[in-house]
């Protein structure tokens, strides 16, 4: 039996890098230090596995070999007048770079899954900047942690233990020396851990943030409550934030995808910016997939834009709403969708999935997903971070190395190898 130490978890944006994976005869038999989600991923890689490339013939998916699947993919991309390359949340940075090259060569549109999660965060920070820090800094220094519109206990299970209120830092140790605030529309398991839980009405986040900001800026509010929250309670929270030595705000889709979207994030950034006039405060988005942050990073260094990049006119153009994959699919404007590291048929709204019936679909995925079942070409790839190495970015923007701990099933290549074959033929 071989034990791999300090393995990076390829599940959520926390990218926990202290996993111990026990492997016997190329089979993972145990995973230590991981949460239930991460452990589940390592131990279930053999389930629902896509083992052979598939090509649709007369409406039925039939097995084929890799060369033919690649050839068919290249032909479809070359014949496409507006291909969309989408996904990347569960792909390595190296694979994302190759996909951007494909989008550039084929005059397509490249977009990552942040368009349906933290896209508004990106739009907000482009307007306002973001006062941020690494998770390590927060672990060692933060004495106030605010979770807004997120539920890490269920979605990022080790966040509170490794970086949040339960973590033990160098200067601030343990739960007793930190205060924890949760702001959400319902009492989540995370909220039950909090010192202060502020329940807000759905879609009232912008008003609450604006009121908090006004209080931090010593403005008098002319109302007694803001969307059902008494001003006295907001004053208490504002005082708690101002009096913190080092505060950290973590926010999730409850903020990015509720009424106001990017304006909520702008208001949150402005609040943190104003708090920094009085104390030290930082903020970090709770990114979902393990490398969606990496997708934004690679997109930015390759094209200048973090998502929604359109190469159709020969140079990168960016206008979320116009050049975002979801809107393009919803308007029925693309004729080919190339998906890697995502499962849009499970995650996108039904009316958009309906649109996929009218476009050619190429999917690179390790397992048989609903998207694979709709595909015209499906190519199996290795699980990045388990069967293939690569680079991923943690939610705070720190790059980390994904490790290979077992070999993929026979005949299955990493996504980088498959993409390299496609790119070579496209050239």
């Amino acid at each position: 039996m071989e034990v791999f130490k300090n393995v990076l978890c390829p599940f959520c944006g926390c990218c926990c890098d202290d996993l111990e994976v026990e492997v016997d005869s190329n089979k993972i038999i145990n995973v230590k230090n991981a949460c239930a989600l991460g452990r589940g991923k390592f131990l279930s890689i053999g389930e629902h596995r896509l083992l052979k490339p598939l090509v649709k013939v007369d409406g039925e998916l039939v097995e084929t070999d890799l060369e033919k699947a690649v050839e068919k993919t290249v032909e479809m991309i070359k014949n496409s007048s507006y291909p969309v390359f989408y996904g990347f949340g569960c792909a390595s940075c190296e694979a994302i770079k190759l996909c951007l090259e494909m989008a550039d060569l084929s005059g397509g549109l490249a977009d990552n899954i942040s368009v349906v999660c933290h896209g508004p965060t990106i739009l907000g920070l482009q307007d306002m900047g973001i006062p941020s820090a690494t998770l390590g800094q927060i672990r060692h220094r933060a004495d106030l942690i605010v979770y807004w519109g997120c539920n890490p206990v269920e979605a990022h299970p080790r966040h509170t233990i490794r970086y949040g209120p339960l973590s033990s830092g160098r200067f601030v140790t343990g739960r007793k020396s930190r205060r924890m605030v949760v702001i959400d529309v319902r009492k989540t398991p995370t909220a039950t851990m909090a010192d202060v839980f502020m329940q807000v009405k759905p879609n009232s986040d912008f008003e609450i943030l604006t009121a908090l900001r006004a209080l931090v800026n010593d403005l008098d509010l002319e109302v007694e409550e803001v969307d059902g929250v008494p001003v006295a309670k907001l004053e208490e929270l504002a005082d708690m934030m101002i009096n913190a030595k080092f505060g950290a705000l973590f926010f999730g889709l409850g903020l990015t995808m509720s009424y106001g979207k990017e304006h909520n994030i702008e208001a949150a950034i402005a609040l943190v910016r104003d708090l920094n006039k009085k104390t030290k405060f930082v903020m970090i988005p709770m990114r979902g997939h393990f490398n969606v942050t990496g997708a934004n990073e690679v997109f930015t260094w390759q094209t200048g834009y973090p998502f929604c990049v359109d190469f159709s006119m020969g140079y990168p153009r960016y206008n979320p709403g116009e050049t975002s994959a979801v809107d393009v699919i919803a308007r029925g404007e693309c004729d080919l969708l190339f998906i890697i590291g995502a499962d849009p048929c499970s995650h996108l709204p039904h009316y958009i999935v309906e649109r996929l019936k009218n476009v050619k679909l190429v999917v690179l995925d390790p397992s048989i997903t609903p998207t694979v079942k709709m595909a015209d070409v499906a190519i199996p790839v290795a699980y990045v971070g388990i069967e293939a190495s690569g680079t991923a970015y943690r939610m705070d923007g720190v790059p980390l190395q994904l490790r290979k701990v077992v070999d993929p099933p026979p005949g299955i290549l990493s996504d980088v190898d498959v993409l390299n074959r496609i790119v070579r033929r496209l050239k």
């Binding site: 912008f206 008003e207 009424y259 106001g260 159709s312 006119m313 709403g321």
Partner: protein, 275 residues
């Protein structure tokens, strides 16, 4: 000057970028040359004449382009136009009249998002509804509309007047949330109601809402009740709650809200009594 009628050669499915389609092009080039100008359909370069049927349809005082049909897939028509008239009888696509400097655009139908984005002069009139970012800026840019006027006789979407610096936007029916967000000048005048977040981050300018507004942001301060407001040549009479903001941005913009349509805001009148 000539009138040109332009119709789609077929039903478009892919996005088309036709930013060269403006009156100046038709004044400066022969029709045969115009038909050979390249535009993009998806990632393919095509001739203007392959995508559109163009015919001369009489004389007018100014060069007039009449777009007849569904142009919802065609983007940036009238970009940077400075003179002449564009009339749409049908649906206008994304960013129609982007950064226009002069001339007139009349849309008899629906208009897509970013209508009159970054506009500097001229006028746009829509006899139908318009989508979001009316007269707004693009994402990541600092300034939206800088001059001219947009009148929408129907509804409009979110973020009307996004980052607007000058000019006038009039919407005769309801609009979505966040009108005048990041506004630094100009006037947004809405005869219907609006969603939440009016005037967020605004530094200057005026927003007038005659219909229902769900709430006023806490960073706005009640100033007074006015009996009338002037918008261009028109004087609006009634009772208008006047708010100043966004104070968190050290802004001094004005938000005027019709008192009769917003009885739920009547508690602000107590502030007057207290003062």
């Amino acid at each position: 000057m000539k009138i040109y009628q332009i119709t789609p050669a077929y039903d478009f499915k892919l996005p088309i970028v036709a930013d060269i389609a403006k009156p100046e092009l038709f004044e400066e080039k022969q029709l045969s040359e115009v038909l050979n100008v390249e535009v993009y359909e998806g990632n393919r370069r095509k001739r203007f004449g392959e995508l559109f049927k163009v015919k001369e349809a009489g004389e007018a005082e100014e060069t007039t382009l009449e777009f007849i049909g569904d142009f919802s897939k065609v983007r940036r028509i009238g970009r940077r136009m400075s003179r002449g008239i564009i009339r749409v009888k049908g649906t206008a696509g994304i960013a129609f009249g982007e950064a226009m400097k002069g001339g007139r655009i009349i849309i008899e139908g629906l208009a897509g998002p970013w209508l009159g984005a970054k506009m500097r002069g001229g006028s746009i009139e829509v006899y139908g509804d318009a989508e979001g970012f009316l007269g707004g800026a693009y994402r990541g840019e600092n300034i939206g509309m800088r001059g001219g006027s947009i009148v929408v006789h129907g509804k409009a979407g979110w973020n009307v007047g996004y980052k607007m610096k000058n000019g006038l936007i009039v919407v005769e029916s309801d609009i979505g949330g966040f009108p005048g967000v990041h506004m630094s000048g100009g006037t947004v005048y809405v005869k219907g109601g609006c969603g939440r977040g009016a005037g967020a981050f605004m530094k200057n300018g005026r927003i007038i809402i005659l219909g229902y507004i769900p709430s006023i942001l806490a960073s706005f301060s009640f100033e007074e009740i006015r009996a009338s407001i002037r918008v261009e040549a028109e004087r609006l009479k009634g009772r208008f709650y006047t708010f100043v903001g966004d104070l968190s941005e050290k802004g001094s913009g004005r938000l005027f809200v019709n008192a009769d349509s917003n009885r739920h805001l009547s508690f602000y009148e107590q502030l007057i009594e207290e003062l």
